[in-house]
C-alpha cells in the first residue's frame, strides 16, 4: 500500500524532505451527516524519518493535522544517493513506511 509520497533533495549540504501521506485524519469530533453519529478518531500519531538508518525527525501528530497530511523538514549531513525512510503509525495501529533516494 503506497500511502506515502516522498521526495528529498540535497543542496548545499542541506537536504529538504517533502512528504505526503494518504490518510483520512479523522479527529473524532466530526459527525456523519447521514446518521448523526460521531465518526471515530482515526489519525496518524507518529511519523519518523530516518536517514541511512539514523533517526532525524520524530513527529507526534494529533487529529488537528489536515487530511492527507503534508510534512516538510530539512536536515544536514546527507549526500545525494543516500536513503531517506519515512514511517507512520496511526491510532488504530496501522502504519506504513516508504524509502526514497536523496537526489
Amino acid at each position: 500500500m503506497a500511502s506515502i509520497k516522498i521526495r528529498a533533495k540535497a543542496q548545499d549540504g542541506v537536504t529538504t524532505v517533502k512528504a505526503l501521506i494518504s490518510h483520512p485524519m479523522e479527529t473524532g469530533l466530526r459527525k456523519d451527516s447521514k446518521t448523526g453519529k460521531l465518526i471515530p478518531a482515526h489519525h496518524v500519531t507518529e511519523v519518523t524519518a530516518e536517514h541511512n538508518g539514523k533517526q532525524v525527525m520524530l513527529a507526534n501528530w494529533g487529529g488537528a493535522i489536515s487530511k492527507n497530511p503534508y510534512l516538510s523538514f530539512k536536515f544536514k549531513g546527507a549526500a545525494a544517493g543516500d536513503t531517506i525512510k519515512l514511517t507512520w503509525v496511526d491510532n488504530m495501529g496501522k502504519g506504513d513506511s516508504a524509502e526514497a533516494p536523496i537526489k
Binding site: 520524530l58 501528530w61 487529529g63 516538510s72 495501529g93
Partner: protein, 156 residues
C-alpha cells in the same frame, strides 16, 4: 492492537505522573523518544498543551522564531503552517492552535543534524492565534500569528 493500547495508557500515566511530581520543569526527565505525547494532545488549553509537549510553559517571545501562515484561511481544514527558527541546538518544535478543542496540533522532535524547520498543514476550528514554540538549549521560545478562518475545519 491491545498491546498498543497498553502502551498509550502507560505513556499517558507516565506523563501525568511526571507533571505532578516534578514541579520544576528542569528536573523533569526528557520524555523518551518514541513515546506518544497523548496527554499533550488531550490538553484543553494552550499553556498545558505546551507544558505537556515540551516540559514547560515558560516561554519567551522571540523574533528568531518565524511562523508562516496565511492571514486569512478560507478553509480551516487546510491551513499551511511553516515554522523555522534562527537559533542553534533546537531539539523540538510544537505548533498550537488556540481555539481548537485540543490545541496541540503537532510536536516535532529534531535530531542533532536536523534544521529548525517544519512545514505542514493544520486544521483550525475557527479564527485563532497559532503559536509556534521552539525548544533550544532547554529553553522555550515562541512566535504567534493570528489566522482568520472563514470556514472551520473540525466539522460538527
Amino acid at each position: 492492537m491491545n498491546l498498543l493500547r497498553r502502551k498509550f495508557v502507560k505513556t499517558a500515566a507516565f506523563v501525568g505522573a511526571t507533571v505532578t511530581v516534578g514541579s520544576s520543569a528542569l528536573l523533569m526527565p526528557q520524555r523518551a523518544i518514541g513515546a506518544y505525547a497523548k496527554a499533550a494532545f488531550e490538553a484543553k488549553d494552550v499553556d498545558s498543551a505546551i507544558r505537556e509537549s515540551l516540559g514547560s510553559d515558560q516561554r519567551s517571545a522571540s523574533s528568531a522564531v518565524k511562523i508562516k501562515a496565511p492571514d486569512i484561511a478560507e478553509n480551516g481544514a487546510v491551513v499551511p503552517v511553516t515554522v523555522s527558527a534562527d537559533m542553534a541546538n533546537v531539539t523540538a518544535i510544537s505548533i498550537v492552535a488556540a481555539s481548537n478543542a485540543s490545541p496541540l496540533t503537532s510536536v516535532y522532535m529534531l535530531g542533532s543534524t536536523t534544521e529548525a524547520f517544519v512545514s505542514t498543514r493544520i486544521k483550525m476550528a475557527k479564527t485563532a492565534i497559532v503559536t509556534a514554540v521552539v525548544k533550544a538549549d532547554g529553553k522555550l521560545y515562541s512566535a504567534e500569528k493570528e489566522v482568520k478562518v472563514t470556514i472551520g475545519g473540525c466539522g460538527g
